[in-house]
Structures are given as C-alpha cells and as structure tokens.
C-alpha cells in the first residue's frame, strides 16, 4: 500500500483498480458478516475446497462480503457477473453451483428462490426481495470485501473526497448537502446541512465530528451492516464533514456488541491512514484529519448526543439540557457535529453524484432512501433500502413477503422504543418523516418489527417500558420515576391485576413524562404506550375488565390445554415437561395439571400433532 499524495495519483489508482476488480469478472460473493451465524464459515470453506478441485482457485475470486440484505436467506451467496443469488445454501450444493453457475453462468434450477405463488427466481433483478429496492447507501454492501480498500476505491471510493478537497470550499460542501435535502437518519430527521452550518459558524477550536454508531434500538441493525459491509463510505463521509465544518478530529462511537463492525472500522481506518486519506495534508490539500474509534460500554442512553459526548469524555453517559447544542458546546466543550452511521454514509454519494440527482429521490420533505431493518413476524427478515415515501405495504408485503403462513398481519412497530405501533389501516402510509410522526410513531433509526395476531399489544407496551425504565440514566425525575410507575401499571394489567382507572392513569403519566423529561429517551418513552392505546385500546380493556389476553401471550391470563381428540398419547410432552405437570397412559390422551403448570410452553413446542393449544 502506497501513500496517495495527489488527486491525480488517486484517480490513476482508481482507474487501475476498476480494471483489476472489473464487475464483469466472475466472482463468488459470500456474506461473512450476519450470515456467519448461519454457517457462512463452512460454506466459504466448501467453496474454497471445491474451487481448488475444479482448478479455478486462481481464476475466480471468492469475495468475503458484507450483508446482501436478505438475512432470512442466510447464508447468502451471489455469483457474478450473472447476478445469480442463492439463499440458505448448504455446503453440499457447492459442487453443483460451481459446475453450473460459476463455470457456465447458468442458474441451478432447484436452488431458486420460491415465492408464495410458487414462482422460482434466480437473478437479483427478478427476485422480489431485491428488485424492488433502491440501493444507494448499501450500494457496496454485499458487493465488495469490506476489509479490502482496493474494492472500495475501484467503485469510485474517495472520489467525493477528492472533489471536495480540490474543487469545493467548505461553504460549498455545506450548500450541496443542504440542497440535497439530506436529513439525519438517527431518528429526529434534522437537516444535516443545517447542523453542519451551525458547527461551522460556531466559535471555538478545535472542532470535532462524531459518528454515532451506538445503534441501541432493539430491532435495528442497519448501522451495524453499513459499518460491517462498507466502512470506508462512513469514513469518507466523516472526512468530508470534518472539512466542511473545520474539524481536524473525528470519533466513531460504536457498540461493543458489534464485534465485526468494530473490527472492520479499525481495519478501514488504518488502511485510510496508510493511504494518506487520513492524517496530515490529505491529498496534498493542506487539510488534516484523523479518526479514533471508541467502543461503547453498554448504555442505551449513550445514543443521545449529549450522553454520548459525556461517555467519550470518560464520564457516566448522562444527557444534559440543550441548548447549548453540541454544535456550540460539544465534546470537551468544543463545537461538535454528530451524525449517525447511515447519515455519514449518504454524504459521499451526494457529493459524487450531486444534490440534484439525490433530491430527485424521495418525497417533498424527505429526500433520498431509507434503510429499514425488517424483522419480527415477516418472511423475509433483513435489510431493505427503499426511496422515502415507499408504503409500509410495499416494504412488508412486496419486499418482505408478508407474515408467515397461518398468521395474520396485525401491526408494525416502527422507530424502536421511541416509536409506535401502526395497525393494518396504515399499510398504505407512505413512509417519510412527517407522515410517520403524524400517525403517532417516529421514523427513528428505521427498525420495522412486524407483528401478527399472537403479539399482545399490552405486553409489547410493557416490554418497551421495561426497556426504557432499565436504560433510564436516572438524572431527571419524570423519566426515572415516571416510567417506573407506568411500568408497574402495565405489569399489573398483564398479570391480570389491572384496575379501573389504570388506562387513564397511563395516559396522564405519558403526557407528563413527554413534557417534562430532559432528553429524547424520556420524551419519547411513552410513545409505545400511547400508540397502542390509540389503536388497540380494546386489548387493554380485555386485560383490565375481562382478565383476558386476546393474543394468548400474557402468562397469568392464559392456560395450556391438550386436545383429547388430537393427542396420540405419544408421551413426548410428558417427558419434556420440567414440572411433571402432564400425566396420562401411553396411547391415551394426556392431561395438563393446571396447578403444576408454569406455562413455559415446552410441551407445545414438543408436540408433533398440534394437540396442545394456548388460550
């Protein structure tokens, strides 16, 4: 690796690398990030072994990539240049894939991805999950080896940085970002260009930029995937931001629970340093900038910007009142600009392709694309990038292939613990910052959890309250005590001890907590309760008045029963029950002793005849 001293050198290198890593060359792309959890290591080993056997070892590159998007299909393999994708690939299929697809560019029919209508697809531009997305931020994820800087450079990597340093004044960069309409992807949707302007205009030196990679919302994993799959795009965005606001130092604050993301970030930073893209006099421009990684230590509240700053300063991660905003008084008391991973990753392509190109995508008020982490009761769990304004129906049903068979869509939870639940009547809601907020949720970082008729909305509200209560830093009373009281009420309701007036008390507390809390965590904590009350009040009432859980989730309000007609008396449940609560003779219907049963559900999972039901 040689240091790049000038724009010309960078450009020459990009041309050379684009040839070396020509997208038309045959390549096998295996996700080695999320898919590792489903056996990608074994699959990679099988490919290496079989390629050697086939004599292709030095001819065809096997690329260890980041996330392809469809995590439900893990491990995922793509074969280029044909653009053929296989899901849930077993090492046994590897010889066939090499013979047909790698050598001849033909799909292996039986490995096709089947839709619920029984159609089979093999190509990326045919498979419903992939073809309906617009990948801008994730353009490199699943296509390049995130640990290999050559791959990033070969795809116009750092071209935006070169443009900025050679042709643009900091003010022009900010103008371009303003014109693009980019808004913060971390939740609140504040215009990124404006935020940069505040930090640029603030008096004080040095200035700092921070990448918030403390992705704490349960159910969100887009930031993790970007850092894992394309870390250089985040770094490039940060250098550009640093130049625009006049900072010479950046921090990436990343969750320690994401070991691969942490590793890839460190790796990319040291490469950028060696290439001279970080450090002194970047590309001969006279601009100096470097980035340090800080690993979080497990505190959700550190996703809040002032708490995150406190954490980097080596303090308890507690928020402080704003103003002064970090743009004026941030890290170490100096002007600081914080954006999240997805926001930073948007910057290089905006500069490279121009604000006009970017602002043509999306809606009137929300430009560009948004990445959603689709999870819960949906067939195609994974990462989905779509233009702003795409409807929930398109995301959940067209791309996500709907809820698993036999279940019925009930609601979608959007925005994590600060967001809310939207019922089926909002399926055709175009998702942008304004419309989601109007419906009572927030865009948040983009977690989309699909729920079916077995999800109890009261229990879900309790779950989120338990989460925020646990993560409340304790600094301000409304959040510390208020969420505790709300949680107690919700616990009582889900345990069948709900009383008249509980629901009204929840509403009253919610309003006070929203109004009086110090930071975003407290101010949004009641949202899950408020939206479930707004759309699913009947469920609360069933719990309080009838002591019944319509979804069959709340343990105190349900019971397990064996259907005597369906039970074959096989004894599997009897053996599995840890409480000895099941009795019965062989080949005769068994029964559950309600007094002994602790409702753990092991019997229901064990029964092969669907004879055990829960009500």
């Amino acid at each position: 690796m040689k240091k790049i001293n000038t724009n010309e050198e960078l450009h020459a290198l990009q041309v050379k690398l684009a040839k070396k890593h020509d997208p038309e060359k045959a390549r096998v792309l295996i996700c080695m990030t999320g898919c590792k959890a489903m056996g990608a290591d074994n699959l990679l080993a099988a490919f290496k072994k079989e390629m050697k056997k086939a004599g292709l070892k030095d001819k065809i590159e096997i690329v260890e990539t980041g996330c392809h998007g469809c995590c439900a299909g893990a491990p995922v393999v793509a074969i280029e240049p044909a653009g053929i994708i296989y899901h849930s690939v077993s090492p046994d299929s590897v010889p066939e894939i090499i013979e047909e697809t790698v050598k001849k560019g033909k799909p292996v029919d039986k490995l096709g991805i089947e839709t619920s209508e029984g159609e089979k697809f093999h190509h990326r531009n045919e498979i419903p999950f992939y073809k309906q997305q617009k990948k801008i931020v994730l353009r490199n994820c699943g296509k390049i080896d995130p640990t290999n800087w050559e791959h990033y450079l070969s795809r116009d990597g750092y071209a935006a940085l070169a443009k900025v340093l050679s042709e643009m004044k900091p003010e022009n960069v900010i103008d371009e970002v303003l014109k693009s309409g980019l808004r913060g992807r971390g939740g609140a949707g504040f215009p990124t260009g404006k935020k940069w302007q505040f930090a640029r205009n603030a008096k004080g030196s040095p200035k700092y930029v921070i990448c918030n990679a403390d992705e704490g919302d349960p159910g969100a994993f887009m930031d993790r995937s970007i850092l894992e799959g394309d870390p250089h795009s985040v770094i490039e965005g940060m250098i550009i931001g640093g130049y625009a606001i006049g900072a010479d130092k950046g921090f990436v604050y990343v969750r320690a629970e994401y070991p691969i993301a942490v590793r890839h970030a460190y790796n990319a930073l040291s490469q950028a340093r060696e290439l001279g893209l970080l450090g002194d006099n970047i590309l001969g421009s006279g601009f100096n900038f470097d980035i340090e990684v800080r690993e979080g230590a497990g505190a959700f509240v550190c996703g809040e910007e002032t708490a995150l700053i406190a954490s980097i300063e080596g303090k308890r991660g507690m928020p402080r009142p704003r103003p002064p905003f970090p743009a004026v008084r941030g890290l170490f008391g100096k002007p600081t600009n914080i954006n999240n991973v997805e926001t930073w990753a948007n910057v290089p392509i905006i500069i490279h392709k121009g604000s006009d190109w970017y602002s043509a995508i999306g809606t009137e008020t929300s430009k560009g694309t948004k990445i959603f982490a689709l999870a819960g009761k949906v067939n195609n769990t994974g990462l989905v990038e779509v233009p702003m304004g795409t409807t929930i129906r398109q995301i959940v049903f067209d791309i996500g292939a709907g809820v698993p068979e036999g279940a019925e869509f009930k609601a979608v939870q959007i925005g994590g613990p600060s967001g809310g639940c939207l019922p089926a009547e909002y399926l055709d809601l175009p998702v942008d910052y304004e419309s989601v907020t109007k419906a009572g949720a927030i865009m948040g970082s983009g977690g989309l959890i699909v729920m079916d008729d077995t999800t109890c909305m009261v229990d879900l509200a309790r779950y989120f309250l338990e989460f925020v209560q646990d993560e409340s830093c304790g600094k301000c009373t409304p959040c510390r005590v208020g969420t505790k009281r709300m949680l107690e009420i919700l616990e009582n309701i889900t345990r069948g001890k709900g009383q008249e007036g509980d629901v009204e008390m929840l509403e009253e507390l919610a309003v006070s907590i929203k109004d009086a809390s110090l930071c975003g965590l407290g101010q949004t904590a009641p949202n899950p309760v408020l939206t479930t009350l707004r759309y699913f009040r009947d469920e609360y009432e069933a719990h309080v008045h009838d002591k019944r859980c319509p979804a069959g989730t709340c343990r105190a309000l349900i019971s397990y029963t064996i259907d005597a007609e369906l039970c074959k008396g096989c004894g599997a449940c009897l053996k599995a029950c840890p409480q000895d609560a099941i009795s019965g003779e062989k080949k005769k219907p068994h029964v559950i002793d309600r007094d002994k049963c602790v409702k753990c559900g092991i019997c229901k999972n064990t029964c092969k005849f669907d004879a055990i039901s829960v009500k």
Binding site: P218, F221, A256, S311, I312, G314, K315, F332, T381
Partner: protein, 186 residues
C-alpha cells in the same frame, strides 16, 4: 456509601498492568478522564472483570478519583465488579426476539443452568446476561454463548444446545431438563 468493589478474596496478579495502562494517556487539552473507558475495557479484557486493586492503580496513575471510576463502572452494563463465568450466555431481549418468544428463552436458560439473569453458576462455568439487542433479528429468538449465535430457538432446541455444549466442552456435564426441576417458575 462504602466503596467495596471486590467480592473476590483471591487477589489478581497486577504485574504487567502498568505497561498495559501506558497506552491510555489522555490527549493534551482534553480532560484526565478522556481515555478512562478504553482503559477500563483493556483492564477488563485482561482479567475478565475489574478487580478493585487494578482500578485503584488506574486511578493513581491517571489522577482520577476512585469514586469517579466507581461511578463510571457501575453506570455501564458491560463493566463487571465480580468474576464472571468462563462462558457468557447472552439472551437477546430485542423487539423481534420479544415478539417471537424471548421470555421463554430466558426462562428456559435460567432453568437449565439453575441461575437467574445476571448470575454466575457456582462453578464459574456460565454467566447469564440479557442484552437489549444482538442485531441478529433474523435469527429471533436468539442467544449467544460466547461468540457463537444460536437462533430460532424454542425450549426444546435450547435443551439440545446446552446438552451438546456440555459434551463438546468436556467440562462438567451440564445437567438439563428433569434434574433441575426443583426450581419453580419457568
């Protein structure tokens, strides 16, 4: 408030700690504490937990009051003031896992190991902890044992995982199922 940090009688070996801590000098112009958290992470990486004597040394070296260090350590979920099990079982409580039955996963793991969330087995083999989200929602409900993911869990599968884990580790065989049933509450 008494600051009794360490519960372990066995004093950890502090040799080499000074060298380790050398890498965490604060940058001029920033507060003394600005590299405290990375330093704590390094100490924990070395010992598996944060012994009081090591924290005292850290505080002395960088002129940070032990009270401040204690405040920081107890604020963040990933700092431990007690020794931990050789294996950490992390049960995900994320939203996707929740709607797919994470509470049963925790209940079953607790039952299998005979300890509750946050506790360590007396033989120091396992510690159970719950995490907000492992970011592997497609595997929901999911848990990790050390660096390995176990996804799409139900009670029966968890029993199997621990059964096989015990075999593989050739450590003390983990007793699963019936033998732990004296514990009430699932």
């Amino acid at each position: 408030m008494s600051i009794s940090l360490s519960l372990s009688a066995a004093e950890p070996d502090l040799s080499g700690l000074d060298d380790l801590l050398d890498g965490f000098h604060h940058v001029p112009g920033t507060p003394d504490t600005s590299r405290l958290i990375p330093a704590l992470q390094a100490v924990q990486e070395k010992y598996g937990w944060l012994p009081e004597s090591a924290l005292a040394k850290l505080g002395e070296k960088y002129r940070i009051p032990l009270s401040h260090i204690y405040g920081v350590v107890t604020f963040y979920a990933q700092f431990y003031l007690e020794p931990r099990g050789r294996h950490t079982v992390r049960v995900c409580r994320g939203t996707a896992c929740h709607v797919r039955g994470a509470s049963n996963v925790l209940a079953t793991v607790e039952q299998v190991l005979g300890i509750s969330d946050g506790e360590t087995t007396p033989d120091l083999e396992f510690t159970i902890e719950t995490v907000a989200c492992l970011g592997t929602c497609f595997l929901a409900p999911v848990m990790m044992i050390d660096e390995n993911y176990y996804g799409k869990l139900d009670s029966a599968k968890i029993l199997k995982v621990f059964d096989e884990f015990g075999d593989k580790q050739s450590a003390k065989k983990i007793s699963v199922g019936k033998t732990t049933k004296k514990k009430t509450g699932c």
